[in-house]
């Protein structure tokens, strides 16, 4: 045991309520690290997918087809007005029954979408619904006349969207997007309910095995999420600064 491990080992001996077991027991340390890694993966993938869903949804909301627009509206209402925990359970337990399975070894039947897969799908659609609304508000802030100028230059609706509307709307949307993505990262903890081995899941498992580690686990959870969200907010803020247009919008 090195000095660091020794320190926390002694601490746990002296104050049994403060058992930072993962700081001296390599097995527990691995559980924390793998949980942290899963949380980071889940967050990054869901952030990217939810932003894509938001963009596609906002584009479809401007579609000619009333059917498409109603479909997007229905999607938003469903995901915005129901709790994400229920969505997760529904996706995993209800839809999970109907997904095909495959057999990697000829014995076991494994569903093609794992619980991690369902968590990604469910959380991305959850945050995506808010992102559609956020981008739509940004798009509505772009003057019709700017788009008309693009149209008069021969740009198609999709060129107009990609080169004119979106870059401007994105800047307008960044503060609101920032908030929603922070929420998303925090909501990934709910994947615990379908046994996705993310950080909270691992921490709960640890203190179920070693009840003296409960306080220590809570402290670490708070610190890790403060740091994770902090990194995200810093990145978003510097992005906001980097995309600021000289002389535009104050």
């Amino acid at each position: 045991m090195n000095a660091f491990q020794q320190y926390f080992f002694d601490l746990a001996q002296e104050y049994p309520k403060w058992n930072f077991i993962f700081f001296y027991d390599p097995v527990q340390a691995d559980r924390v690290l793998s949980g942290l890694w899963m949380t980071v993966k889940l967050s990054v993938v869901c952030v990217i997918l939810s932003v894509l869903i938001g963009l596609i949804g906002a584009w479809l909301q401007g579609a000619k087809s009333q059917l498409l627009r109603s479909f997007v509206q229905g999607y938003i209402q469903f995901f915005r007005n129901t709790p994400p925990l229920i969505q997760l359970l529904f996706f995993y337990f209800a839809l999970g029954q109907f997904t095909p399975t495959y057999s990697p070894d000829g014995w076991l039947e494994v569903p093609i979408i794992s619980n991690v897969g369902w968590a990604i799908i469910s959380l991305s659609f959850f945050a995506g619904a808010f992102n559609v609304e956020i981008f739509r508000a940004g798009i509505e802030a772009i003057p019709e006349s700017t788009q008309e100028a693009a149209e008069a230059l021969g740009m198609s609706r999709s060129q107009n969207f990609v080169y004119v509307v979106l870059p401007l709307a994105f800047r307008v949307s960044l503060p609101a997007l920032n908030n929603n993505l922070v929420n998303l990262v925090k909501t990934t903890t709910q994947a615990l309910a379908i046994a996705v081995p993310e950080l909270l899941y691992q921490m709960v498992s640890i203190y179920n095995d070693y009840s003296t580690a409960q306080n220590a686990c809570m402290v670490i959870l708070f610190i890790v999420y403060i740091l994770l969200v902090g990194v995200l907010v810093l990145a978003m803020n510097s992005w906001e600064r980097a995309t600021r247009i000289p002389g535009y919008g104050h």
């Binding site: 003057p143 700017t146 021969g154 060129q159 002389g247 535009y248």
Partner: protein, 245 residues
């Protein structure tokens, strides 16, 4: 042998809801010609020129640009917009692009021309509208007059056959109006076909080959500036001119 007009407008009607804004407008513009449309506010001038590049639809009648029927539902809008450039009262530049990028955008994205070629032409256009040194300025950093000249250059970058100007100096300070008018005058003298909606009577008299006066959706009177200003016959034209001149 009569020359085929570049733009030919025949008996165009257009309503917004129950409000009939154009009540049978006809006019022809030949290649190289400069025409000015004047008239009181709300008489349908903007609506008319917006119909020429299909930003507005029409209810009946016909508009042809180089023989292309503008309001044919099967029209390839891109073909039309390559031929017709438009400059707006509020400039409507892309605020997230520099002056140079504004000019390059459509040739790059719409015509898919090679970048170095487009950039070279954009730099020439910047020179042509007297904005050397402002290539990398964003619209928010330019004065109104400078923005409007970028907008003109942006339209020219598509090599249009006809340019539409809708009160392009109406939002400018009196000092900057002149720099924009000079740009348009150079353009007109260079042989560009221009259709201008304007309140600048002195300018219209100077550059127009033909002046049209519209009131409540009809062309009340038209003629070359030499006769239009001095020998207007219709009382509505005379009243309008007396208020403005």
């Amino acid at each position: 042998m009569s020359e085929q007009p570049l733009v030919s407008i025949r008996n165009v009607h257009k309503s917004f809801g129950s409000l009939e804004v154009l009540k049978g407008v006809s006019l022809d513009v030949k290649k190289g010609e400069v025409i000015c449309i004047i008239g009181p506010s709300g008489s349908g001038k903007s609506t008319l020129i917006r119909c020429i590049n299909a930003l507005n639809t029409i209810d009946s009648g016909s508009i042809k640009v180089e023989g292309m029927e503008v309001h044919d539902p099967n029209l390839d809008k891109l073909e039309l917009r390559k031929k017709v450039g438009m400059v707006f009262q509020q400039y409507n530049l892309f605020p997230h692009k520099t002056a140079l990028e504004n000019i390059m955008m459509a040739p790059l994205k719409v015509l898919k021309q090679p970048k170095d070629e487009v950039e070279e032409r954009a730099r020439q256009l910047i020179k042509r509208v007297n904005l050397e040194g402002k290539e990398n300025g964003y619209p928010g950093e330019l004065s109104g007059g400078q923005q409007q000249r970028v907008a003109i250059a942006r339209s020219l970058a598509m090599n249009p056959d006809v340019m539409l100007f809708d009160e392009v100096t109406a939002a400018l300070d009196p000092e900057t109006v002149k720099e924009v008018l000079t740009t348009i005058k150079d353009l007109a003298e260079g042989g560009m076909t221009c259709i201008l909606v304007t309140h600048e009577m002195g300018f219209a008299r100077e550059i127009a080959d033909h002046i049209y006066f519209t009131d409540r959706g009809v062309i009340v009177e038209h003629g070359p500036p030499s006769t239009f200003f001095s020998q207007a016959k219709d009382p509505r034209t005379r009243e309008f001119l007396s208020q403005i001149l």
